[in-house]
């Protein structure tokens, strides 16, 4: 299931899928990633991290100190100036390479829709086969706002030529974490 998810997601437009056995390894990756992307306290170089089960496992104060410019309080202004937006997703859909977001809290949307790079954390165990299976798992009766995200923001409105990052991220990095569901949500 993971392999199909990875193949389909990586074909959906500037998307990378990485897999980690443990949350700790994923966190190490995020650390390196924020360094690599040169996150700092300057508009355009912020990082925002929307609330999610994984955050229970880290000391956000320490992280914020380590990365001035990283904020766990996602406001519209910070998100607007963010290079990286991090959030945790609920489900993956293998056949489509899509992920489902519980978007009821606006900060989930701000972090994933305004930044240049969306880093999406997904428990590997929560990947289902197809859209029909997903719809059995997540129902609008329980979720006020939910979004299926597939690849980066894109358009072909000019001469049918694909261009990325129209209004949202021009890059999507998906971190599939094997032990996350067990320890987290």
């Amino acid at each position: 299931m993971f392999e199909l998810f990875k193949t389909r997601a990586e074909a959906s437009g500037n998307t990378e899928v990485k897999r980690f056995e443990t949350t700790l390894e994923a966190l190490d990756f995020i650390n390196d990633f924020l360094k690599e992307e040169n996150i700092q306290d300057v508009a355009g170089s912020y990082a925002v991290w929307a609330d999610g089960p994984l955050l229970k496992q880290i000391d956000t104060k320490v992280m914020e100190k380590k990365f001035p410019g990283l904020s766990f309080n996602v406001t519209r202004e910070l998100a607007k100036g963010a290079r990286v937006g991090i959030s945790q997703l609920k489900w993956g859909i293998a056949e489509l390479g899509s992920m489902a977001q519980d978007s009821a809290d606006v900060e989930q949307r701000l972090a994933s829709a305004l930044s240049w790079i969306h880093v999406a954390i997904l428990p590997t165990t929560k990947i289902v086969a197809n859209l029909a299976d997903f719809m059995k798992k997540m129902h609008p009766k329980e979720y006020k706002y939910m979004t299926l995200i597939t690849g980066a923001s894109k358009t072909a409105d000019i001469e049918r030529v694909l261009a990325l990052g129209v209004h949202g991220p021009d890059r999507l990095v998906i971190l599939c974490v094997d032990d996350l569901e067990v320890e987290g949500a």
Binding site: P140, T147, L148, T150, D157, E159, G168
Partner: protein
Amino acid sequence: MKIDMPKNVDEALESTSLSGILDRWDYQGTRAKAFEGVDFQALRTRIAKVKGGVADNFDEVAETFKKNAEANGIKVFRASSAEEAKEYIANLCKEKEVKKIVKSKSMATEELHLNKHLEQFGIQSDETDLGEWICQLAHHTPSHMVMPAIHLNKEEISSLFSDEIQQPLDNDIDKLVKVAREQIREKFFEADMGISGANIAIAETGSIVICTNEGNARLVTSLPKIHVALVGLEKLVPNYEDAEPILTALPRNATAQLLTSYASFISAPTLNDDGTMKEVHVVLMDNNRTAMAEDPKFKEALQCIRCGGCLNVCPVFRLVSGHVFGDIYTGGIGTILTSWFTDLKSAEEIQAFCIGCDKCKEICPGNIDIPGLILEIRRRKAAKEGIPAVYKGALQVINNRKLFHSLLKVASVGQKPFAKDGFIRHLPFFLSNFTEHRSLPTVAPVAFRDLFKTIKQPKSDTKAAFFAGCALDFVFPKTGENIIKVLNKGGVEVTFPEDQSCCGIPHWGSGSFDMAAKSAAHNLKSLLEDDPQYVVVGCASCTTALKKEWVEVLQSEGMDDLIPQAKKVAERTYMFTELVNKLVEDKKLIPKEGVDTHKLTYHDSCHAKRHCGISQEPRSALSAAGYEIKDMKECDTCCGMGGAYTIKQSDVSMNMLKRKMENVQETGAEFVSAECPGCLIQLGGGLDKTDSNMKAMHPADLMIDKFQ
């Protein structure tokens, strides 16, 4: 820079950006890939069932939606007309002191001319979908439902953007997109209200579903404190699970994607980022949809999911785009929606662009007979206003084969009597004066009906009645003779019921169903006279009449007593190569041994492929006769003939031919074959214009000495 929208066919055909852009995209190839592993027929049957069921119960489903959405905290307003919808939104803006609006793509708001309406109250609406924004800057209407600015090239767009930001820009598409991001982003943050459409509205849960690739709908519904969704009644589905087939078909058919980048389900108001509660309004708009649902024919069009796939495969749309072929809603489906939602008069004009090739019908995920409904617009117009007297006169003449024959005898000598008063222009295509582009095929000195009497045939118990059609009877009698000779070798004796007349396709295509029915009635009697085992036809269009249209047209004209006979004819009718293929399979027709192989490309005429479902049989029959088939690109795309179409829309027709010829010649084949005299005239005429040695020939002429 001011860029004018093309107002007519000539301007559209001359525009360099229009024709190229859609053609460079291999829509059909990428679409097929996106549908791998999906049973498209089952999928569209499901969608048609769900949406058709809703159209039967608009009121009930709309009330369920209203009840459930309101229970979630969404305000729902049911607008019966465009006026009511506009008034509701305008009043809401006044009440909430809204000055700035950001919009994500919504065809329904285009239908209302909403931006213009709000502008008079000093409210600025900004489109945020890139294509829509480009159209807004250019003061153009969208030319395509999914790709609104497909009629503009990057140079034109760069110049529009440059004017907007007062800075010079180059033509790099990535950079242009970033300019748009920067410009529009501010607007999201400043707006007091966001207006969206919806792709689906789910009654069971009171949810709307919005799909975008750019992500603008997520911002439109998140940053401003008020969200208004304008939703046509036809977007309703009863249950959550009904969204699944639509979400499966929509992105695959629209842009050959498995899913759009973002698909949002909004079911209730959520908190804004300042802690206040968002206001969510859904305006459920009727605007003649209920009336449409009550029309037994047009109800079907409410199954449309607005994927725009029909535009991408339409050979006419691909040449002239939506400003000529369309109004607010564009292309074939657009013509139908226009006739109900915006402007019937304009739809009655636009319908003439449809050549009836049925290419769109094949890929429609709502299972809508788009060309059939366009023909229905034409039929109603003809019933209401009648058709021009001179045209009617011509159609009457071809229904009387004997009169036609005697007139043609005169024509073959001089053609003068026909030239008078433009009468000739309304005769079947092959007699019309299109010398401007091609040479007029001459009327044969001896018609098939006279030639037939001189043909000696071996006697057989297996008899086939030959339905010649006007073209083989009067222009290509030799092909008729060859058909008989090939069938004779397969042990079939061919009769020619002399009383036969025109098959009625020209009448049917012009919307004159009454005359088409008369023609069917007349022919049925004649064809069944000797109770033949087969009825054989050498023309794909006539084949369609015999196999399909006669039954339908008799039904539609209330001539039910003739339907059993029409069904009998339909069952016995074979297109020539279809019968040859059967005779070869039955080992009754044996190919000669040691014949030289020749390379051939086969053009699928629209009538054969999509109306009758015949595409493999001609290829097998021609292969058996020693031809190596080399398929051309888009072998089943219309050549542009379309009967009277080539006269009424001659420039479009010629441009369709030009594209066809490129594909034909690319194969390097020696022959191009098609089993339709109309296509052959078109293809032959096209070849005449080139240096090519390739010949356009009827299968019978290619098979004459290939069987034992």
